[in-house]
Symmetry: C2
């Protein structure tokens, strides 16, 4: 195997697949990155056996020659050392040559590295995902859906299925739900092109976070393929495979209250900042709980109290307040996460009492719903 | 005590004094910041008993009103919480009021904080430094001197005096020396205005690092005052006190070789990058050692070898090579630190053999000298 490649483009590809490579792995070869070179281009693969990322660097891109292949072949190289070397090479022209026994030579300018490679035949195969795509979605919309839901997954392994986001496809709609049993995020999305099938899957939160980092903020289409054990996200030059979580995801629809006793409409960004300030003192205590009250005026009050440090109170003018007076306490963190997901728009908050879950929606957009369980303090 | 102040300016002042405040302190009141308010302005003090920083915010600055004092007074507030609160206030107008029992009210917009303050009489006094200044030096030159020496102090407490930089003033010259007994950095500076006295002090490396962060990159004068136990750096609105280290600093002058057998002149930045690349593999081993050889040609070679990972070799065109052929090994980290201190200029490296300390100087500037002990590998 022997080829020349532009350092910058190789580095971009490596930085994508490195997101799947873990230094802590029970399978030593997975600390490496697999490189397959043919006349068409270079394919790079990284995996931690849960997530597998493959990226393809074409020989020519936008009319520019990216690489020149003298001889094709495959090799596995230590991912961290290899990408550090490529990053620090003195010129943008890199020559990589493998000779017998997986000896790898990397040359650039007057610098020459010899790396000891590993046998590519020992590298695991890609997951077997042969199905047609279930639906296609623009990359930026997919990123938004991830951002609006993934923060609410559970970080505890007590119920492993809650560490993932439940994706359900039915009647041309994708419904994504995440919950850690103290709060819930739900996002509905109409799909443009979808097969007429029902599908259910629980995608690990970590996989979605990594996918979010790799995808561009563009409207480029991403094809989503699902099998019973794997999901594959396929964009122009990237294949992103993730294992799915096993187990039954709880039915969350009955948790969401259908009526309310108090409804507050308020600017989301102003409320976020007020909660952030109130949480400065709440954080000194363990629970990080702030209080919220709507008592008949056109303002709501956000407050918190830490006996050792002090207290804070803030009034916030609401757009509208309907229904009963209310005092309620909740986790400042959960509230801030939910408000960030709704992202600066006016929010409608519907309460059914101080000890009942309450929901937040965007005033403009019905597709996103956030639910939070209150904390007993009053 | 009651006054109004611009949030931005208060935050700047707090961020300076916070550099002296540690959350881990045996003296609880030192987790606080002291605020003294008079008609002239607000003085803020933070300390960890080794370093004390006082900054003054004048009532008026550049013709702009910064604060309005209704009633003067003093208070100590929890530094971390106080500065976080100020950072997150909703408007740039802050009102601070203390009433009986150190109850502190902070108001901005519709936000009101109540903090429980501490008695300012319990806060330690500033170190007693009444002497006249020893010399005055521009802030940017002082920062350069710190940057060129402080990295070479010892990080081990085995010989505490080596964790500081030795400052000696004699014959109108300041000589700063730092060594961890494996390498040494020396910087000489002619002083413009200096008292006709000899002075010796060992300034803790940590103090110099914090001072470096606080000083502006300007030619504003900094007055340096020394007593037997303290050094005070005094700039326009900042007093920076540091405890000095006790104990005799070793005589380092006899360590510096006065002759050489091989002299190499090379571009500092190119050598730094070559060493950085070679150290990529060296780092995989424990010692991070790279090899350097000058073998009669007009090039030097930098190389390193890690049996598990691979090896690297690189040729570098030298400006000049004089004297005997040479093979030597040294710590890549020490070499990179030294080259960064010399900062991109051509460097002259003088060797007296593979097992003897060697020195680096700037080809343009005689004021800075770096010395490194080699490592035995050949």
């Amino acid at each position: 195997m022997k080829f020349e490649i532009k350092r910058d483009r190789l580095l971009d590809g490596l930085s994508d697949v490195m997101k799947a490579v873990s230094s802590k792995t029970a399978i030593p070869i997975l600390t490496g990155v697999k490189m397959d070179v043919s006349a068409e281009g270079v394919s790079l693969t990284g995996s931690d056996s849960d997530i597998t990322i493959q990226t393809f660097i074409p020989a020519e891109e936008d009319g520019k020659q990216i690489l020149q292949v003298s001889e094709g072949g495959s090799i596995v190289l230590q991912a961290r050392v290899f990408s550090e070397i490529i990053r620090k090479l003195p010129t943008n022209e890199v020559e990589i040559e493998i000779n017998g026994n997986f000896q790898t030579h990397i040359r650039s300018g007057k610098s020459e590295f010899h790396l000891i490679g590993l046998d590519p035949l020992d590298y695991p195969h890609l997951p077997d995902v042969q199905e047609d795509e279930l639906f296609t979605i623009p990359a930026d919309l997919l990123k938004t859906i991830i951002r609006e839901t993934v923060f609410a997954v559970s970080s505890s392994e007590t119920r492993p299925v809650l560490t993932g986001v439940h994706w359900a496809v039915k009647d041309g709609e994708l419904v994504c739900v995440a919950t850690d049993s103290h709060r819930l995020a739900r996002r509905k999305t109409k799909l443009e092109s979808v097969q007429d099938e029902e599908h259910n899957a629980v995608v690990p939160g970590r996989s979605l976070n990594e996918l979010n980092k790799i995808l561009d903020d563009s409207a480029d289409p991403v094809e989503v393929v699902m099998t019973s054990q794997q999901v594959l996200f396929r964009s122009k030059n990237i294949l992103f495979f993730s294992r799915l979580l096993e187990g039954n995801y709880p039915d969350t629809s009955r948790l969401i209250p259908s009526e309310y006793k108090t409804q507050v409409t308020v600017n989301g960004r102003a409320l976020l900042q007020a909660i952030d300030r109130a949480s400065l003192l709440a954080r000194e205590e363990r629970n990080n709980v702030v209080r919220f009250s709507a008592n008949g005026s056109d303002e709501v009050e956000v407050s918190s109290n830490s006996p050792e440090v002090g207290k804070v109170e803030e009034q916030l003018l609401a757009e509208a307040i309907e229904g009963e007076e209310l005092k309620i306490s909740f986790s400042a963190k959960f509230m801030m996460d939910a408000l960030k997901a709704i992202d600066g728009q006016d929010v409608v908050i519907q309460f059914t009492g101080a000890m009942r879950p309450f929901i937040l929606r965007s005033a403009l957009d019905d597709s996103i719903l956030q639910l939070i369980l209150p904390v007993r303090t009053y």
